[in-house]
Amino acid sequence: MGERGYSVWAWLLQAFTGLLLVVLVALHMVANHFAKRGLLTYRDVAALFADPYWLVLQLALLFAVIYHGLNGLRAVILDAGLSPAGARRLDWALFALGAAMAAYGVGLALSIGGWLGSR
């Protein structure tokens, strides 16, 4: 964590995911709220996620949200002044949390889109 060079990437990726999210969240909101005048039903959602392009977009959104949100949280916590050891523990904790969220989210998306072959 104390190593140089690490923080540049963290910052750049935060900026990049931020810009990406503006686009992806906009698409997400349009699809969910505005495409059909009202919220989507289960069938609508399943249809959307069965489309590989949409699936990829939503997974990108998922990953971007996880990174941007958790790295943002990390910045907030680091702003409070952590020791190098504390910062390292924080990184691991956030990484584990992010991985769990990603696994859960991917499972959810694949499941609703029928990609797991259960239905």
Partner: protein
């Protein structure tokens, strides 16, 4: 010059870890509108508060010792005049050389507190030891002015106003903060001076360097020397990003 009946609330107290923990003492005195706050403090010292502690040296915004918080905002005491306070014009850089056309028998009140995020030597005197340590980390030096450009980072008088205004300096004790980072960039820009550029870049790139900045720009707003440390920080970060991406630095003079 007009006389003003000035009520001064001063946050006083012994040496302590931060401005918090003192107590407010209130003094009332008759002050000339042309007096600076340093004149006011000297008058208090000569009268009701003989052991009042505050820092001052050059009295013309060059030494950077007399920064304090005036009604919550960082100001140099030497540039802040009684007339300016009475006229409610603390947004102006200096109150000297101005006639605020105060009415006869004008009254004003002002609250003085030491800089935020600094240990206190006593009363209004901030202890700059920790701050100076950060200047040391970037090998800051007084750098001669060269020509007239929009922003002169060498004009930094290390008064600590930006450090006090920055919310992150308050919470991350290791964060280098605006002035040291602005001076790191100045050191990198100045080809005539000694000091290690590698050390400056390393200091700026560590987790408590530029990456802790969240673009609040209170440093720039608080700077009494027109240095714009916020801009310096952004340029320094852009430099680190370009370097990491392997882009060549623009033409080096």
């Amino acid at each position: 010059m007009a006389e003003v009946e000035l009520t001064v609330r001063v946050l006083r107290g012994p040496a302590r870890a931060s401005a918090a923990g003192g107590r407010y003492e209130t003094y009332t005195l008759r002050a000339d509108a042309g007096w600076s706050l340093l004149d006011v403090l000297e008058a208090l010292q000569a009268g009701p508060a003989p052991d009042l502690m505050y820092r001052h040296s050059c009295h013309h915004a060059s030494c950077g010792t007399c920064a304090l918080r005036v009604d919550g905002r960082e100001r140099l005491a030497c540039l802040t005049t009684v007339g300016q306070i009475a006229a409610g014009r603390l947004g102006e850089r200096t109150g000297h050389g101005k006639d605020y056309r105060l009415p006869r028998g004008a009254r004003a009140a002002v609250t003085l507190e030491p800089l935020r995020s600094f240990p206190v030597l006593g009363d209004l005197a901030a202890d700059f030891a920790e701050f100076f340590g950060k200047l040391d980390a970037v090998e800051a030096d007084l750098v001669a002015a060269r020509g007239e450009e929009a922003t002169h980072f060498e004009h930094c008088i290390t008064c600590g106003a930006c450090m006090s205004a920055c919310p992150i300096v308050a919470s991350d004790l290791e964060y280098l903060g605006p002035a040291p980072l602005a001076l790191a960039l100045r050191g990198l820009q100045d080809p005539t001076k000694t000091g290690s550029d590698a050390r400056r870049l390393a200091a700026a790139d560590q987790p408590h360097g530029v990456w802790r900045c969240h673009h609040v720009f209170e440093c720039t707003a608080a700077c009494p020397a027109g240095v714009d440390p916020g801009q310096a920080l952004m340029e320094l970060r852009a430099r680190l990003v370009r370097r990491r991406l392997g882009w060549r630095e623009g033409a080096r003079r």
